[in-house]
């Protein structure tokens, strides 16, 4: 029997991924065998350490560029920056979950490694350059999230969320695979570099590309589902509401970022020659997304749902940057926006978590009423996040929008920019409403709660000011300070993203 020669592999290219996945696998075992049932928090700490180690491990790789695994994986500054963002997202989400899970009495040790697996999937999405790798990475991420979304047993909402996400996720996976099939049929490969080369060849330029176009369209739709572009966004509000809040937070920035990262790579590597075509498609989706997300959020009184719709709106803005990849600031804008958005949105969900009590959702706007009087620090942090999401200077959100809109304008997407700024003006309304509730209305919190308690027969009113745990507090603080600093002194990050070039050839 002949041996199969394993081709040479540049392992350094996947060092961060290896650290994350390996650490997660080991942690699974450690958790089961070494961590007692009442000390699962230790697993969480270990997971955080693992992510930080991975981030540190990535530092020496900065500036290097390599393509390996038969051109299926690439390491470039672009993916490194994204990896750091994902790792940051993971750390912050874990920090928030550390408080949340025990309080909700849903803590299980597997939660933390699962988050790490998801982060691993995200990093693979950022680095993958083959459709099949991307597909598998998406599925790794998704399956993890199906489980995480359904983690909050016995809350039915959590399971319903997982169910909806899973069904629709599988549905979109069908389109993904079919899209791959059609692309494969048209080009004979699923590798992004190869597809790009094929399209750049003169033969392809003349011939009909129907198969490829439809296939690419379906793949983009599948990613559009993951990042919640309208009309593929319908799962978002329901899933975001039902999932445990730290998972929602993680999903809202992590999945979006990773899927966009992959989408950008597909467009930049495989389909640059088809830009005139997909600009129309994605442009239409972007307009629809910005409109739907920002308008639908107006009607929400549930903060978690509102944030869900807001995340849809933001997907529209990020899409502008993605479409602007022919301009030099497109990629940069995407990266910057992702970081700004990640900090801000995680922070906002962090505040929601801080208000959430055992068995009681604190997602209604009413729960935010008079927060300024009860927990001023929390209120100020939330105000910063809301303003940043709305894109009001001097916050990270503003600089991000500025970056994205500039990039979009540079690549001739003026009309989309117009829609973008107008919808962001609309969006200001519902962000502002949270601020209004927190600062400008007197707290009727206790009385309302007692009235509720009487109705449902709970003897004691809920604690008017839940304790802020260390993990959550530090998470929110990091996010808030980051959101402000990024707005005031964006220069270091700007420099970072300017150097985060995409590797365009193997």
């Amino acid at each position: 029997m002949e041996t199969i020669p394993i081709p040479p592999v540049d392992w350094s290219a996947i060092t961060p991924i290896l650290v994350v996945i390996g650490w997660a696998t080991a942690l699974l075992l450690i958790d089961v065998f070494a961590i007692p049932q009442d000390r699962k928090r230790v697993t969480g700490y270990l997971a955080i350490v693992g992510l930080i180690v991975a981030a540190l491990a990535a530092i020496p790789l900065w500036g290097t560029s390599s393509v390996t695994f038969s051109d299926m994986l690439v390491l470039d500054n672009y993916s490194l920056t994204l990896n750091w963002i994902f790792l940051l997202v993971g750390v912050l989400s874990l920090a928030m979950a550390l408080d949340y899970l025990p309080r909700q009495e849903i803590e299980q040790g597997e939660f933390y490694p699962l988050i790490m697996f998801a982060v691993g999937g995200m990093m693979l999405l950022a680095q993958g350059t083959d459709l099949i790798v991307l597909f598998l990475a998406v599925e790794l991420l998704s399956i993890t999230l199906y489980i995480l979304a359904g983690f909050a047993y016995p809350r039915l909402a959590s399971e319903e969320a997982a169910m909806k996400y899973l069904l629709l996720g599988a549905f979109s996976a069908g389109f993904f695979v079919y899209g791959i099939a059609l692309i494969y049929g048209a080009t004979g490969t699923a590798n992004l570099f190869a597809i790009g080369e094929h399209l750049a060849s003169p033969a392809a330029a003349n011939g009909e590309n129907t198969l490829l176009l439809v296939g690419a369209g379906m793949v983009l739709i599948a990613f559009g589902f993951k990042v919640a572009l309208a009309p593929f966004h319908m799962w978002t509000p329901d899933v975001y509401e039902g999932a445990p809040t730290p998972v929602t937070a993680f999903m809202s920035v992590g999945v979006k970022g990773a899927a966009f990262a992959a989408m950008l790579r597909i467009l930049a590597l495989a389909l640059p020659t088809l830009r005139p075509t997909w600009v129309v498609v994605l442009g239409g989706l972007a307009i629809l997304t910005m409109l739907v997300g920002n308008i639908a959020a107006i009607a929400q009184t549930n903060v978690k749902r509102m944030l869900a719709y807001s995340s849809i709106g933001h997907a529209g803005y990020i899409l502008l940057a993605i479409m602007a990849i022919d301009a030099e600031r497109g990629v940069q804008g995407f990266l910057f926006y992702m970081l700004a958005y990640a900090l801000t949105n995680l922070g906002a969900f962090g505040v929601v978590i801080a208000l959430e009590q055992k068995d009681e959702a604190a997602w209604s706007l009413n729960d935010f009423t008079g927060l300024w009087g009860r927990q001023p620090e929390l209120a100020i942090a939330m105000a910063i996040f809301m303003l940043s999401l709305a894109g009001v200077p001097p916050t990270a959100g503003f600089v991000g929008k500025f970056y994205v809109f500039t990039a979009a304008w540079e690549s001739g997407l003026g009309w989309l920019v117009l829609v973008g700024v107008l919808t962001s003006a609309v969006a200001a309304f519902f962000y502002l409403r949270v601020i209004v509730r927190m600062f400008m209305q007197e707290s009727t919190y206790v009385t309302e709660a007692t009235a509720e308690a009487r109705v449902v027969g709970i003897s004691e009113a809920k604690d008017a000011s839940p304790l802020l745990y260390r993990g959550l507090a530090s998470g929110i603080t990091v996010a808030a300070v980051g959101a402000i600093l990024l707005g005031l002194i964006p220069t270091p990050v700007v420099v970072l993203v300017e150097r985060s070039m995409l590797a365009l050839a193997p």
């Binding site: 069904l167 549905f171 176009l213 509000p237 329901d238 129309v280 639908a296 107006i298």
Partner: protein, 650 residues
């Protein structure tokens, strides 16, 4: 002395400041205020005398110009804060400070015991200062400062007793109506600047040698210039002059803006004397005299001026006939006399206008002060039907009043005879018969209503005994006597043949003394005789009918005239028409509509409508978010079909 002309307006201003910030006691206030104006009068007199006997050599024609500081200087727009002393402003300054000082003195007695007397004197001082700025300004803008400033003081003083609603609304009305005129004045100023590049009357040499050009001496530059309102061309000079005329009608209470003056009588009587008879209301005439080169460029406007003056004279005179309120008679009389002056100015008889202005200033102040004395002596009675027979209780007042009335009626040889006769003579010699007729009839009516007033007030029996009439104190009678002497002698200023005033004003008004021939002589004799007859008739009739006059009763003449009398009493309903018919209610309704409906429902409705539309859209979107996962898949698929469809079509 010339370098001290700034003291003239400054002294009253200091008096004002002292009264506002320092003085709290009535007695001091009166003395300080009167002293300030009296001092100002002395300075003015000294300046005047020096000007008369050793006119400044450097300027030709002689004038003194003192630039205090550079007021506004933006780009080419350059207006100094400069004072001017020339023959015209000289006589005006003397009138203002002289009569002003007497009225201040009189006020000490009249206002004794009033609760806000310090404030009263402060305003009075401020008024004098503003009036002095008006007449001493060397440019339009500073003139306008005085112009509006006197309007403000008028507002403040009419509203002195603001607890009375009538006083408050009269004050506001005076200010607003004046503002209408002022607005036109403003536009006129802008037009002047736009065309001449300056607002100074005459060339001014500044300290650094630079010269600000004046516009009056090169007014000809705009002759023939045209501007157009769609469909119609106008002379620029007509535009400017007409706008100035509107300003004049506001300030000098001419048609159609005279309505504020009768109401202004709600203020204290000395105020009526100073502001609403002697000085402020004549500012319009002063303005026309000062800017006559502009008016002379526009024959059309001059026609308007003449007609407005003459018609005002007649209408106000007829209204004066039918008043019961002693002050309202004088108020309408003032309007009427101002009409004479304006008509004179319109006919180009600026000297006659100024002459009449000066004499009228004296004798009308006398009359008002006299009426104040009457009111004071009868414990705030103003209705002449409640008076009667006062000559026995108030002899000084009676005699001085008689002198004043005679002067107003134009009885030889009192001051009014000379000045009014000059105007009528002008109308006659100007071949303008209708104007002459209007003025002539007005002057007869003047004599008539003064006769009526004297009969009602001083003759017959006291008809109401709720008060005990008494003569006023010396501090009030003294000014009366001084003014009475003035009313007798003021005509000497411009006696025919001598023409002192004409000569004096010639450098400013460029008008040679009028001919005085046989025609004029005959005319003078006829006028005065008829006036005397008319006055006698009025007096005789009301003395005869004095028994029929009771408080609340109608006038004996009502029997003959019927409702026309009411029309007269209401000054031909002009004021009523503004109030009730169109202008005011229309404005109010429109404003209410805008504030109550159009703004909140219309404009803001659109704004809120945008918000509402968004919230509706949001609710609509919720419908799709049904919670059924199959629906989500449906929309997903719809998206797929559209995207793929598009990709297939291209």
């Amino acid at each position: 002395m010339f370098n001290f002309i700034w003291l003239i307006p400054l002294l009253p201003l200091v008096g004002f400041a002292l009264n506002v910030f320092v003085i709290r006691r009535e007695r001091e206030a009166g003395y300080v205020a009167t002293g300030a104006v009296a001092l100002s009068f002395l300075v003015a007199l000294a300046t005047f005398i020096q000007f008369a006997f050793s006119p400044p050599a450097e300027a030709k024609p002689p004038r003194v110009d003192l630039v205090l500081w550079n007021w506004i200087s933006v780009g080419e727009f350059n207006v100094p804060f400069g004072l001017l002393f020339d023959p015209l402003s000289g006589v005006m300054v003397l009138l203002v400070t002289g009569v002003g000082a007497l009225i201040h003195l009189y006020s000490i007695g009249y206002m004794h015991g009033d609760s806000r007397v310090v404030r009263y004197f402060a305003y009075l001082n401020l008024f004098v200062a503003m009036m002095l700025f008006l007449v001493m300004s060397d440019n339009m803008l500073l003139l306008f400062l005085g112009w509006e400033g006197v309007g403000l003081c008028s507002f403040l003083l009419i509203g002195h007793w603001f607890e009375r609603r009538t006083a408050t609304s009269a004050a506001a009305k005076a200010f607003v109506v004046n503002r209408i005129g002022d607005a036109a004045f403003l536009v006129a100023m802008m037009a002047i600047f736009a065309h001449f590049g300056t607002l100074s009357f005459y060339d001014i040499e500044l300290a650094d040698g630079a010269v600000i050009e004046g516009f009056l001496e090169r007014a000809d530059e705009i002759s023939g210039l045209i501007f157009s309102i769609p469909g119609q061309n106008f002379l620029v000079s007509t535009g400017i002059a007409f706008l100035l005329l509107i300003g004049v009608t506001g300030k000098s209470a001419q048609l159609p803006l005279f309505v504020w003056l009768p109401d202004a009588m709600a203020g204290p009587t000395p105020v009526s004397a100073l502001i609403h008879a002697a000085t402020m209301v004549t500012a319009g005439v002063y303005l026309m005299a000062r800017t006559h080169p502009i008016f002379e460029l526009s024959a059309a406007t001059q026609g308007w001026v003449t007609w407005i003056g003459a018609l005002t004279a007649l209408i106000a005179a007829t209204a004066a006939v039918a008043q019961w309120d002693i002050k309202r008679v004088l108020a309408y009389s003032t309007v009427s006399q101002l009409g004479f002056m304006v008509a004179a100015a319109g006919m180009g008889a600026y000297v006659a206008a100024i002459f009449h202005l000066l004499t009228h200033g004296v004798f009308k102040a006398l009359l008002f002060l006299g009426s104040g004395s009457v009111i004071h002596g009868t414990h705030d009675t103003q209705d002449m039907r409640k008076m009667g027979g006062l000559r026995e209780h108030m002899p000084t007042t009676f005699i001085t009043y008689l002198v004043g009335a005679g002067a107003l009626a134009g009885i030889f040889p009192l001051a009014g005879f000379w000045s009014k006769d000059e105007i009528i003579a002008h109308a006659w010699s100007g071949q303008n018969f209708s104007i002459f007729l209007l003025l002539f009839v007005s002057s007869l009516l003047t004599a008539f209503y003064m006769g009526r007033q004297i009969a009602l007030t001083f003759f017959g029996q006291q008809r109401d005994h709720s008060y005990h009439a008494h003569e006023s104190g010396q501090v009030m009678t003294m000014p009366l006597m001084i003014l009475a002497v003035g009313a007798v002698l003021a005509g000497a200023m411009n006696l025919p043949m001598l023409h002192w005033l004409s000569t004096w004003l010639e450098p400013t008004l460029h008008e040679h003394a009028a001919e005085f021939g046989v025609t004029q002589l005959i005319l003078a004799v006829v006028t005065t005789l008829l006036a005397a007859g008319s006055g006698y008739l009025g007096w005789r009739y009301y003395v005869a009918n004095s028994a029929k006059i009771k408080p609340g009763a109608k006038d004996p003449l009502y029997r003959y005239s019927g409702d026309i009398w009411e029309a007269l009493e209401e000054a031909w309903y002009i004021d009523r028409a503004y109030e009730k018919l169109t202008v005011v209610p229309g404005f109010r309704a429109l404003a209410r509509f805008m504030a109550g409906v159009f703004d909140p429902q219309g404009i803001d409705g659109l704004v809120r409508g945008v918000g509402y539309a968004f919230s509706q859209a949001a609710s609509a979107l919720r419908v799709f978010q049904s919670g059924f996962v199959r629906t989500y898949a449906l929309l997903f698929l719809a998206g797929v079909v559209m995207v793929v469809g598009y990709l297939l079509i291209i």
